[in-house]
Symmetry: C2
Subunit: 123 residues, 2 copies
Amino acid sequence: MPWDFKSDRPIYTQLIEQIELKIFSGEYPPGAKLPSVRDIAQEASVNPNTMQRALAKLEEDGLVITHRTSGRSITEDIELIKKAKNQLAKQQIAEFLEKMKLMGFEKTETLALITDMLEEMKK
Amino acid sequence: MPWDFKSDRPIYTQLIEQIELKIFSGEYPPGAKLPSVRDIAQEASVNPNTMQRALAKLEEDGLVITHRTSGRSITEDIELIKKAKNQLAKQQIAEFLEKMKLMGFEKTETLALITDMLEEMKK
DNA sequence: ACTATTGTATTAAGCGCTTAATACAATAGT
DNA sequence: ACTATTGTATTAAGCGCTTAATACAATAGT
């Protein structure tokens, strides 16, 4: 199935993010082999060049390892994954709180809205 | 001072968002007159055409009113503003929770992380 | 040894975003 | 009545993103 993209950001940045999420959530576990650029690009319905660009960034960050002719795999460095995951989480939270603050919501108000929505989602 | 933009999204969408935030927070109160396209564009350090594009969207949503030759002003429809504000807040929360979920954080875990960060910010 | 598969690189085209320059119509303010 | 200011429109250029087509080097797997 084609992956889900918003039209307001470059696809390659969204690919990076979505693959990161798959790694952090364990859908791509440490050491797992990734599909080839061509295959994963087709799966996501994007051009191989675009996927390549995203994978290059993930490799730069150490989350993905490239084996010249036998494809790519997720790093086995569990600590690295955990660190990256916590860093992203912190960033997400900070950005979110910042936006809510700019909208004029007090901290306690923001917290209340979240608990409300979590309650709703339980049903 | 030039406004703050990230490089991973079109400027005009960020302008829309930032002006919305100014409206919701009360920095641009209901009925207030906006600077002219040229002035506000210069303030934000963007091209007038780009600012025009953002304002056109805000006008489409009814948050901003255009007076052909005497500039623009924020709507006086307080209810409309409140509705838009709550809708954006809900969307922000939903997107945030969705991302955390995709990262593999449980709801209670996410909540704990937020309260932690709020505690930290108090200091 | 051969072959298919891997990552990688290059070129050209199309598209949207952004800027710059310029012009016009309408009217508030004098 | 005049003038400066308002929003609006148009054209051209540059840039990054994305796609498509194609090719190459390296090697796992047989």
